[in-house]
Amino acid sequence: MLYFTRWKALGIILTALVVCLCAVPNFFPEATVKTWPAWAQRHIVLGLDLQGGSYLLLEVDSNYVKKERLDSVRDDVRRTLRDAKIGYTGLASKGDGVEVRITKDADVPTALSKLRDLSQPLGGLLGSSGQRSLEVSDAGGSVIRLVIPQAAITERVRQTIEQSIQIVERRINELGTVEPVIQRQGTDRILVQVPGLQDPTQLKNLLGRTAKMEFRMVDTTVSPEQALQGRVPSDSEVLQSASPPNQPYVVKKQVLVSGGDLSDAQTGFDQRTNEPIVSFRFNSAGARKFAQATTENVGQPFAIVLDNKVISAPVIREPITGGSGQISGNFTVQSANELAILLRAGALPAPLTVIEERTVGPGLGADSIAKGELASYVGSILVIVFMLVTYRLFGVFANIAVMVNVAMIFGVLSLLNATLTLPGIAGIVLTVGIAVDSNVLIYERIREELRGGRNAISAIDAGFKRALATILDSNITTFIAAAVLFYIGTGPVRGFAVTLGIGILTTVFTAFTLTRLIVAAWVRWKRPQSVPI
């Protein structure tokens, strides 16, 4: 137990040294570290609870996705049957699917085969499983039922999330924040972390809107008052104005040009009224559509609709063929700016809801760092003094091992680019308390062996041999707890699990190698007759 070959000793010292050195980048300012080679840049990331910032968990509304899918299936059915000139009645969504009754029994087989063409194999990995996007069946009584299977909805939600993440990324990048984290979580959630953001109100405003922009014609055949009394033409609907006073508009359902055809949007000021405006530019397809629509409808009002609210409804004075225009609609500078960002980034495929929010101000973060530091120093000092008083020379050995241990924890954390949180600091302090336990186990065992009548060297040897098995057993149980915690925890709690788990690994490493090496070196040097323990 006390014999090390030269190479082994060197290997142990080098390993410990290299791991400790990994922590070095943390002691230099970020700007300096950035100039180093990439492999040397790994460093610990401070958690949002320490550096301040906002954490948002967004969920895509899967019911909305489902409803939208049902609506589009219904429209497809209508179009298909109309194109095939098959008479039908009672087309409606029912539960997970759409039902339609074919007027003539003889048409049912044709209708079935036409509608089956709407069903496609699901893409991706599911494509090979034989799952399809629709299950078309004859429900009897000349009713055809089209059911959207759960797998198709799940796939749809997955696609929605993928698209949403890109849009969310673009919107957040427009805010000019530093190193935001945007990740998918589970099947229908997006996690957003923005370090340093003090007030997430603007962020939530940006993410909480789908920003579906549409240019549609205002229906002038009925007045809004008449429409509110229930006389809405079937191809129109009543929409409210986006800003107070709440004013109803009757707007055609047909979309002339949508926000997807925008290529750019910027804020500016109206030259006459000096009000904030948003100017936009269409791509070539959008410009063509817009030119055609405005040419055909000179003198008529059209509505600029955002998320089913009318921003403004100007009258077309002359054809707009240049492919650009501007929106003025009671904007403040901030709301104009937000709209421009939203239009540039594009529309979300489905609304996102904030289901969890945690924001830490910079003041609290700085306080937490200071308190965590103080607690770590005090905790370490108390433990170090106690070990010195209890074990004297062997206490010095233990303290060296503990200090290397802590340095190694920081090294591993840096290597993993791990996140350090306040509970994580608590985990390190706790590890200091626990790390000496391995030394205590060894030393107590040595004391016992000495009492049992062994000579110094054989007692030390036996002490190590017997204690190491126990150290391994007892640490594995704690490691299991830390692993479970890592698996279930999020944010700060996960930070605790990380430092705890890494602390256990480094503790076992130092107990098995470093402490042994130090004691072995001392034994070789001193050839002790008695052990001062």
């Binding site: 830490v360 306080d367 108390l382 106690f386 706790l430 626990i434 594995i476 149980t477 707890a481 925890g489």
Partner: protein
């Protein structure tokens, strides 16, 4: 100030290190070398006490309940700090009462300027929680600094509770399996009973003290689980060793020897853990105060007691060493 204290302590350590290295300090024995306390006999007292305390804890859990934090109950939590002088909690309470947001709790937090505002979960799903938090912010205005704002919707809080409980179960089961592999099944079962005992008592403590029961409490419980087992495993390891070495020693005596010979380690380790936790409790700030308080109770008070007075003696009842053919209640005799 703190810098000077730290520098002073650093010098103290340096001096102590030199003095220790030179062997000038007297050797400290926290537990005298020839301790032979009859721990197994003590089970006649410790088992009823533990049973009574566990029942009390369970009763408390069902009558008094836990003070569920927003992680598990949903709702909003705002930590604010007055920008000018002590916070006017009464005034804030009156302002917030007008918002009609249901149960709103205000509490001084981390000094006279700090206030912790808790708003209960609002009916109306995830968006309603956001609205409530915004209303609170609008009502209080800019006279305070918003140090922390947390809003947890009903769906997430439900999941947290389920995941937390699942995590505890998962940890217990996986540790059980590990112990089963490494020891005999009786040891695994004994450790489990001790473990559940720890958790039950700690939950009782959380019920009495009404600390916030949130995700960090689950972390604290898991840590307690890990360390209490750490302790138990050390004693079990020794019991196993003794079982192999002394084939004829009666079980109660063997357990006693095992506990006594690891006693010094148990106590020293707990002193060091206590010192570390004490530092966190006193200097770690209000954010991790309840976290460390729970761990202090669980690891230090319950964990140590359990491994010594419950986990080891219970092996007698679980039939470890019965093949030796000795009576369970055989009076202790010196070999």
């Amino acid at each position: 100030m703190t810098h000077w204290v730290l520098i002073g302590l650093g010098i103290l350590i340096a001096v102590l290190t030199v003095v220790s290295a030179l062997g000038l300090l007297p050797s400290l024995r926290i537990v005298p070398d020839d301790t032979h306390f009859d721990f197994t006999q003590f089970r006649r007292i410790s088992f009823p006490i533990s049973a009574a305390l566990s029942i009390l804890a369970i009763v408390l859990f069902f009558t008094h309940g836990l003070n569920l934090g927003i992680d598990f109950r949903g709702g909003s939590l705002l930590e604010v700090r007055s920008k000018s002088g002590p916070a006017d909690i009464a005034g804030m309470r009156a302002t917030l009462a007008k918002l009609e947001l249901g149960e709103v709790q205000l509490q001084q937090f981390g000094g006279p300027e700090g206030v912790l505002i808790r708003v209960a979960e609002q009916p109306g799903g995830d968006a309603a929680q956001q609205e409530a938090a915004n209303k609170v912010k609008a009502a209080i205005g800019d006279s305070v600094e918003y140090r922390r704002v947390e809003v947890v919707g009903p769906r997430v809080s439900g999941e947290f509770l389920a995941v937390g409980m699942l995590g505890l179960m998962l940890a217990i089961v996986s540790i059980l399996i590990y112990l089963w592999f490494r020891f005999e099944w009786q040891f695994a079962l004994g450790a489990m009973i001790a473990n559940v005992h720890d958790i039950v008592l700690t939950i009782g403590f959380m019920s009495i003290s009404q600390v916030d029961f949130d995700l960090t409490s689950i972390a604290a419980l898991l840590t307690i689980l890990g360390y209490s087992l750490n302790d138990t495993v050390v004693i079990y390891d020794r019991i196993r060793e003794m079982l192999r070495r002394y084939k004829k020693m009666p079980m109660p005596q063997l357990l006693n020897e095992s506990i006594n010979s690891t006693l010094s380690r148990s106590i020293i380790t707990h002193v060091t853990v206590t010192l570390a936790l004490l530092a966190l409790l006193l200097f770690g700030g209000p954010a991790i105060h309840s976290f460390t308080a729970v761990m202090m109770f669980g690891v230090v008070l319950v964990g140590t007691y359990t491994s010594i007075f419950i986990a080891a003696p219970i092996l007698i009842y679980l039939g470890v060493g019965t093949i030796r053919g000795d009576q369970v209640d055989e009076p202790k005799k010196k070999p």
